[in-house]
């Protein structure tokens, strides 16, 4: 009995050593958990992730998520994934705090944790889709390209307290100060997350500033609202509207010429990159300053942030007439 036990222990040790050695390049299972399933945006990230998994060939991808954006359901999925002894848990967190203990438990169990789209308070690496600076600069560059270096333009944000919008506005103002000092922002309206009120705000702006040449619309509802107002006022092509939203929603305005550029990131690329990040996390090649290869997207530099490591997808993606029909979200 004792001999059997010793034999088994030795065997287990041998297996463990072989496993450790074979870690790099071994077949791994990645559980990828979006905020929710069944919406176009997360179908797009799934598409990119599947593409990357197929390319790598040694990644088994399990894309599972709750049917509503629930942190509790995500926790359940994470805990089950720990039981299933997967290699990587990759998650777009519905609640950064609530998910942290479960993710920490996974990491304690030797599972690598990758966050993407929405970060959590415990992870090995965050695949960041865009920085505030990146978005802010892309918005200004697009506007200047359309109406010139002097403006004038106005901003429609969501609420004055909205953290993302405020960070974008700050980044936009930095860019103006640095590159286009004569560019005038004449007004900032905050109609909340309400398309009808954003429509109204855009109408008010055009009345109050007859020489207004551009409107920045900084939420996914403000953008179509403002575009609609410009179109109905017959000012398509005279007042440029630039903002953040999803391509499917903005496609009609892009096609009729009211909107030239829709600024966002490419969710397909985001899903794609997060799988390469997962692979690198298991292989142990994720270190500060290291460069990792991500297939068709090229090479990425890993940076350190206040939690752990981060990989930035890159510059924001611009949807326009030439590509907007390729995106179904």
């Amino acid at each position: 009995m004792k001999r059997v036990f010793v034999l088994l222990s030795v065997l287990a040790l041998a297996v463990a050593t072989v496993f450790a050695l074979a870690q790099s390049g071994k077949k791994i299972t990645v559980v990828m958990i979006p905020k929710l399933v069944g919406i176009d945006y997360f179908n797009a990230t799934q598409k990119g992730a599947e593409e990357a998994a197929k390319e790598l060939g040694n990644v088994t991808l399990r894309y599972v998520g709750p049917t509503e954006a629930s942190a509790a359901k995500q926790i359940e999925l994470i805990e089950n994934a720990i039981q299933a002894k997967v290699d990587v848990i990759s998650v777009a967190a519905n609640d950064p705090k609530a998910l942290a203990p479960a993710l920490q438990k996974a990491r304690d169990a030797g599972i690598k944790v990758v966050t993407w789209d929405a970060d959590a308070d415990s992870r090995d690496v965050f695949t960041n889709q865009a920085t505030f600076t990146g978005i802010g600069e892309a918005l200004i560059d697009s506007m200047v390209d359309q109406i010139g270096k002097d403006g004038p333009a106005a901003i429609i944000t969501s609420d004055l307290t909205a953290p993302n919008q405020n960070s974008w506005i700050a980044a936009m103002k930095d860019k103006i100060a640095k590159a286009y000092p004569n560019f005038k922002i004449v007004d900032t309206k905050a109609p909340g997350e309400d398309q009808q009120k954003a429509f109204q705000a855009a109408q008010d702006l055009m009345k109050a500033y007859p020489d207004l040449k551009g409107i920045f619309a900084l939420s996914s509802v403000a953008f179509p609202g403002a575009a609609d107002a410009v179109k109905q006022a017959g000012k398509s092509g005279k007042v440029a509207v630039v903002g953040l939203s999803t391509p499917k929603q903005m496609a009609p305005f892009v096609k009729d010429g009211t909107v030239r550029d829709v600024v966002l990131w490419n969710p397909i690329d985001l899903g794609y990159l997060s799988i390469y990040a997962a692979r690198a996390a298991v292989d142990g090649t994720l270190k500060e300053g290291a460069k990792i290869k991500a297939g068709r997207l090229g090479e990425y530099t890993v940076t350190k942030d206040k939690l752990s490591l981060q990989i930035l997808l890159g510059k924001p993606f611009i949807f326009n007439k030439s590509n907007i029909d390729n995106f179904n979200f």
Binding site: V37, R62, V64, G65, A71, Q83, A84, D95, A98, A102
Partner: protein, 320 residues
Amino acid sequence: MSAKPTKPGFNVPWSEVVLVTGLIIAVLYMNSLSPAFLSPSNFFQITRISAEIGLIALGMTLVIITGGIDLSVGSILGLSGIVMGFLYTAGLNIWLAALIGVAAGALCGLINGQLITRAGIPPLIVTLATLAIFRGLALGISQARSFGNYPKEFLALGAGYAGPIPTQLIVFVVLVIAVGLILAQSTLGRFIYAIGNNATAARFSGVPVNRVLVLVYTLSGALAGLAGVIFTARVSSARSDAGMGNELDAITAVVLGGASIAGGSGSIVGTLLGLLLVGVVRNGLTLAFIPAEQQAIIIGLILLVAVLLNQVIRLRTGRG
């Protein structure tokens, strides 16, 4: 297979034999789907996640036996967590805050009970309304924030273990025994069955129908409140959307367990088996990475088959 007269909740009716068989089949099948399924740690994982629904299902069993329904329990779970989180964040002692959270749940249940018995509004309507009201209150109090940063001793309630046994399983087992005893052995238990069988007859035989009903709904609320506190400890943050849809999971477990939605029948053992069956199936399918939408369909089908089998059994044994 003779039709024995059944003393409620005491001897094992056929529906429970069906459930145990179903459970065994489910365990064997899930084991073939995923090698990670059949392990002690996974078993305790199932009980950890099922404990909250289980607490709600205990109260729901009593409610359904009286012929009622309580749709507001998921919202009560959310509200209790928020009340506790709000008070703790405001500086109150965590255990006192937790106690008030449970009390808030009981108060919600008391309101349900009073509306049902005094105003005579059907339980379905009352609790449908309070489902919306309690959720709205939770949203209003929290202002869409979540409350976190709890002390370690409190988090142990939802994330701690005694040896391999999760803390909430111990809490749950104690309450299962308590509620099970009340239902099967006490006068109150007999009153509950009597009301479900025929409320008018019960009233004329001297059963204090209204008082029993108020008590049952209050208990249901308190158990949902406790589930809210445990949920908060498990996920370490109180959110206003917590427990959304849990009422349906609890009703599923109770009905799977052989309770008749018309009242008068049902047992804690049955509810436990129903709970375990749903827990095993969901866990197994998740371990096999079956997508959530397919899981929902499978669980719905299991519920239909179980209820149909029960129906057949009732007809053949001449019950119900």
